[in-house]
Symmetry: C2
Subunit: 378 residues, 2 copies
């Protein structure tokens, strides 16, 4: 250890910028988009109206936002060159690995710098379309054409399954998409803003964001909640199963968050939605596991202020929507393209290269190569 400047490993509590997009109240359990508490908006507003609010700062004149609805519909047809890349992806790829390459493939020079709201609509519209295309083909099925008369959520499910979803499933997905649409500063949004800060193009920035979201510490773990519920099996097994895991020091999926030191409002809202749309037995299992886990975690770490995070009830809701587990994190990304667009626009509007320092603690300058060079001097 050296006695250099203070090191902010993790950058906790370092404020990297000001933003008008969303507020995460970690102590109070708040998530606010442009002044609107998400608990007042969900369930209820369609994703198209949330996109309007997040990108433009105010609610649309009517719901769903006519401007966003029209823009997303117009952009549902990707360029053939991008579809060719999607069709060349190995069917064995995870949808999340595929989605990273899909977002990169969007970057063909048409997403320039500075980012524009039109580019954002294109990204938001095409992410689920291209993801569904990959999933269909990877499963040996023909792609389903985009459906211009359907909402964003309905179209995504239809392009995945080939059938227009029942209204309650589409509404549950709509609610999920709104709740996950933005979340202040987080690791993927931060990576996106770094890319924009070098004046890289918006498709590159979105690709960087997805690459970071993929990490299980950020967005890549909700499927493990479903795996955990399966492993527990039935409510009467929950206490024993959970206590064993906690005693073994294993991490339980779906609890704890860097920002929230109280209830995550998204988890609270999704809990309510799960109650309405999930299979009752699955819902009862999930509630029992949640109760057991919180009791065991709080007994083991009385000072840790651990609460259920968004992943736990996301998993139960996305199961009820009919999505397979490997699509949970990609669907998180589908939602977050709204926030990524807003942050890209905000970063570019008042841009400055984001470039921290690192303290060098390696060998001092002055080492000598142990022998003469072998040649190769130009």
């Amino acid at each position: 250890m050296s006695a250099g400047p203070p090191v902010s490993k993790g950058l906790d509590h370092i404020v990297v910028d000001r933003s008008s997009i969303s507020w995460v109240g970690g102590e109070t359990g708040d998530l606010v988009y442009r002044g609107f508490d998400v608990r007042d908006l969900v369930p209820g507003i369609p994703y198209e109206s949330a996109v309007h609010l997040i990108l433009q700062g105010d609610p649309p004149p009517v719901d769903p936002s006519p401007e966003v609805t029209e823009a997303l519909r117009q952009h549902r047809a990707p360029r053939p060159a991008v579809e060719r890349v999607v069709d060349a992806l190995a069917p064995s790829l995870s949808p999340l690995d595929a989605l990273r390459t899909i977002l990169s493939a969007l970057g063909d020079g048409s997403f320039g710098y500075p980012p524009t709201i039109e580019q954002g609509y294109r990204l938001i519209a095409q992410t689920p379309v291209l993801l569904a295309r990959f999933v269909r083909r990877a499963g040996g099925r023909d792609p389903v054409a985009a459906q211009p008369h359907l909402s964003h959520a309905e179209n995504y499910l239809t392009m995945l399954t080939g059938e227009v979803p029942p209204p309650e499933r589409a509404a549950a997905l709509d609610a999920y998409l709104v709740l996950l649409a933005d979340h202040g500063m987080n690791a993927s949004t931060f990576a996106l803003r770094i890319a924009v800060s070098t004046q890289s193009d918006f498709a590159s920035a979105a690709t960087a964001a997805l690459a970071v979201l993929k990490g299980p510490v950020h967005g890549g773990a909700p499927s493990r909640v479903s795996d955990m519920l399966d492993a527990v099996g039935s409510p009467d097994q929950a206490d024993r199963w959970i206590q064993e895991k906690v005693a073994d020091g294993e991490v339980l999926m779906g609890f704890g968050h860097r920002a929230y030191k109280t209830d995550d409002p998204r988890a609270v809202v999704l809990h309510g939605i799960a109650k309405r749309v999930a299979d009752p037995a699955r819902f009862e299992l999930a509630e029992t596991v949640e109760r057991s886990a919180l009791a065991a975690l709080r007994a083991a770490k009385p000072n840790a202020r651990l609460y259920t995070n968004v992943e736990f009830w996301s998993a139960v809701v996305l199961e009820a929507v009919g999505l397979p587990r490997e699509l949970f994190t990609p669907t998180f990304a589908v939602a977050r393209t709204a926030g990524w667009t807003a942050h890209a626009l905000e970063q570019a509007a008042n841009n400055r290269l984001i470039r921290p320092d690192i303290e060098y603690v390696g060998p001092a300058k002055g080492r000598r190569w142990p022998r003469p060079f072998a040649g190769r001097v130009p």
Copy 2:
């Protein structure tokens, strides 16, 4: 403006971690890899030995590093599934857009978390191989097979052109690759470390890094130096051309750097290499433009401490190596895969989620949606 916590927009002088890999002495004009001044290493050590030093911390037992030479040769054959993605890319893509998708396509589950040195060798080996494949096919030519008996630099040029390069060109490229192999904390390396901090896979992290490197403020501009030299045309035009641009407030490419407030050591070394390998008339033009630009910039901004940056002489050297301009930044990435690997390994060895804060300055919580929701409640 609010009276919140201090905002570190750009994160200047915020120290995000400690690192033993390289030291950038911005005030003294130093770049040190593991204790070795790059001015003592270049030209002279082969890239394979620099990779060994940067990844393992000490020089190899002989030059070029037998271990790295063998590892890079073994990894020169990409998986057929990745080659299929490369072959599906539109020939009209810029090589830099193509390379982002190529790096993403490497991520097929075989680059897991935590990153390993073996994954690093694979990334380092395959980046130029797949890039050359794209460039050949985009130009309507057949790919050239990897050449096991050639060095990393020689193999890259051979796979691009179909011919083994003259020794002085390979040596000049080798020197460039060593000089650009790492550079402390910078925006692309930072994005890579953020991806690793979420426990995302190494291919995702490298993709994020490339997405950020692509920005002209970071790595995406050396080709503009060549464009500038073309625009000036001849040494006797330099003063007039430069003074007009400076008077118009235009940015001159190749001058100024966030870190260096004196000579960039890489620019100094590349200047010397350019003198040996560049066409004499081009070299004279470049030297004259450099002199004019520094004089004009210092007259216009006497306090800015502006010096020639690495891009300026990189462009002249890469021209002399025979690379087309659209490969300048991708070749920067080819070099930097070494540093990215070292930083990924270092981040993972002592990992913590990198997640700063942002200060919310939007409308206060409590706004109400202007009408009842239209339905769609699950």
